[in-house]
């Protein structure tokens, strides 16, 4: 198990209810997990706990066998990278090159190796021609891919995408998702926090959070076909699955159409 979370509880100071209330799950190496739920269900809180920006009231987090605590927090941050929602608020430096270097400098990477690592990371996301560009001159999708490059250069095992595509246009989203797919093939573990059900459909597994509790955890297609569970979390079924679900409910007999829809939904 790469990530082991047991009975996690967290409460924000100025609130009465727990933001996270007894959350437990395990994630295997190489899995692509979607974390879905309504606004305020605790998804982003969970990502902040995993990386130790917030510390839990109760419960334990183990990353790659290491229990998260004050001493090894920096060890654990080396293993996890987060791409946040707003593309504008993650860049530190005035050029893409320097921004990637920022993470490497923090990891005390040898300066002679930096250039190669920067180029490799940029090649992985197809952004090498933007190496010397200013972040503010890029489009949203390009910024997010550059943000992934900044994180990939640090070679984490786990990539958390915290609603990373929510501010992108369809083209930017597609490019971004393609990069994520290629990373999954390279064996990275991906935790994707999202509102977009078509994106969730791409993952192996879905965890549904509702008011700080996990109400469903299972194979993506099983979870996304659970109409009641999704409705409870104010989430929408992906269009193709919804069609499948409705037709089946109304005893639609044409096997061929149903199979076609099923294939469409399961295709990644």
């Amino acid at each position: 198990m790469l990530i082991e979370v047991l009975n996690l509880v967290y409460k924000y100071e100025d609130e009465t209810v727990n933001a996270l209330d007894g959350v437990s799950f395990n994630i295997d190496k190489g899995e692509w997990v979607s974390l879905i739920g309504h606004n305020g269900s605790g998804k982003s809180t969970l990502s902040k706990l995993l990386i130790g920006i917030l510390s839990a009231k109760e419960g334990t987090i183990k990353i790659d066998g290491l229990a998260l605590n004050e001493e090894n927090i920096y060890e654990i941050r080396k293993k996890i990278g987060i791409v946040y929602q707003n593309p504008d608020n993650q860049f530190v430096a005035t050029s893409i090159e320097d921004d990637i270097a920022f993470g490497l400098e923090n990891l005390e990477v040898n300066p002679q190796e930096m250039e190669k690592k920067i180029d490799d990371a940029l090649n992985l996301v197809g952004m090498i021609e933007y190496k010397y560009e200013m972040p503010s001159n890029l489009s949203g999708g390009e910024k997010q891919r550059a943000a992934i490059a900044s994180i990939l250069a640090m070679e984490p095992d786990i990539l958390i995408l915290d609603e990373s595509t929510s501010m992108l246009d369809p083209k930017g989203r597609e490019d971004f998702i393609n990069v994520v797919k290629s990373l999954k093939e390279k064996g990275k573990t991906i935790i994707m926090i999202t509102h977009n059900m078509d994106e969730a459909l791409l993952s192996d597994r879905c965890i549904v959070l509702y008011n700080g509790k996990i109400i469903r955890d299972g194979k993506t297609l099983d979870v996304l076909l659970d109409y009641d569970c999704l409705a409870k979390s104010s989430l929408e079924m992906p269009t193709s699955l919804y069609l499948f679900h409705e037709l089946k409910k109304n005893n639609y007999k044409n096997k061929e159409v149903l199979n076609l829809l099923w294939e469409l939904a399961s295709k990644k």
């Binding site: 920022f102 200013m134 503010s136």
Partner: protein, 321 residues
């Protein structure tokens, strides 16, 4: 706001570009100090000529450098006129009578109206200001019909002219020197150099790396925040705010509707940026390796020696009678 360019940096490959930014910053300071030791206008003019030769040999455009003067042009013009009118030492070298007559005052009014109307459509505003001022002077001098007040005796004294030219050219030379630095040095290199130069501050528990990081983040967010300001201005304009017209007080009030959201958004931004930095293993005060490493060359030493000699010469001129 696309393709916003930070600072005045012009990419290039000249010997000035290649100098170490530390050498350039120190040289700039030394040269500025030297300029302040000069007592007469000829020494200033010679140094201005030297600076321009530096500019040209580094293949920098003089127009860019003059554009760098822009914010100071009006100030230097006022300093110039002020010195010219109120410094009364030495012999009188020019004398004329200025008439405040019905004709001259109405001419001035007319010129002023034309000036402010035409200002909106013109590009070379500074030249236009000069033309405007000289037109006022001409009308005061020649239009004497129907006098309202006693004519004013305008005397220009030798020292007055000397000092005003001296102050004017000193200001321009100093701005040119700093432009030389900003035109040839990348903002990131400047930051690195500042970090290095601030190292002695470690004695006072001030971390130069943090200062450099603050400068870098500020530079990085200038275009983003500008962009945001325009968006908010548009949004407020859509709600009826008017940032361009109205009295000063009214416009300042309108500015509040821009500043409050700007502050709120900036705080949110800094929160998110802090999270992003933490998750990329940033630990304040922890040792880091550096991607960009400044390299001190023999050329930098040569440059420093030359400017130090220049300063020495300036001090000698100052001490010698």
């Amino acid at each position: 706001m696309n393709n916003f360019v930070l600072g005045q940096y012009v990419p290039g490959n000249s010997y000035l570009h290649k100098l170490d930014p530390r050498a350039k910053i120190i040289s700039t300071i030394v040269l500025m100090v030297a300029i302040f030791f000069f007592k007469n206008v000829y020494a200033i003019l010679v140094s201005l000529a030297l600076i321009i030769i530096l500019l040209l040999t580094a293949r920098l455009s003089i127009i860019k450098a003059i554009k760098g003067l822009k914010p100071l042009l009006i100030l230097s013009l006022f300093v110039f006129i002020f010195q010219l009118l109120f410094n009364r030492q030495g012999d009188i070298i020019y004398n004329t009578k200025l008439y405040f007559s019905l004709t001259s005052i109405s001419a001035i009014l007319l010129i002023t109206i034309i000036y402010f109307i035409s200002l909106k459509y013109l590009k070379l505003k500074f030249l236009w200001l000069l033309v405007y001022l000289s037109l006022i002077f001409i009308s005061l001098k020649y239009l004497s019909f129907v006098e309202l007040f006693n004519p004013f005796d305008l005397n220009i004294y030798k020292e007055g002219l000397n000092t005003s030219l001296f102050v004017f050219f000193r200001l321009i030379t100093i701005v040119f020197i700093s432009t030389l630095l900003t035109l040839t040095t990348k903002p990131t290199d400047l930051t690195l150099a500042i970090e290095w130069l601030f190292r002695p501050l470690k004695i006072f528990k001030i971390n130069p790396e943090e200062i450099a990081l603050i400068i870098t983040i500020a530079l990085r967010y200038i275009p983003t925040i500008l962009d945001e300001a325009y968006k908010i201005m548009d949004a407020q304009a859509a709600r009826g705010a008017d940032f361009k017209n109205g009295s000063l007080i009214k416009r300042i009030k309108q500015l509040v509707s821009l500043l409050v959201p700007m502050f709120v958004i900036s705080f949110e931004r800094s929160d998110e940026l802090a999270d992003a930095m933490l998750s990329r293993n940033f630990v304040p005060g922890k040792p880091k390796t550096r991607y960009h490493i400044l390299k001190w060359n023999y050329k930098d030493t040569v440059a420093l020696v030359i400017v130090t000699l220049f300063l020495g010469g300036a001090i000698c001129l100052y001490i010698l009678p």
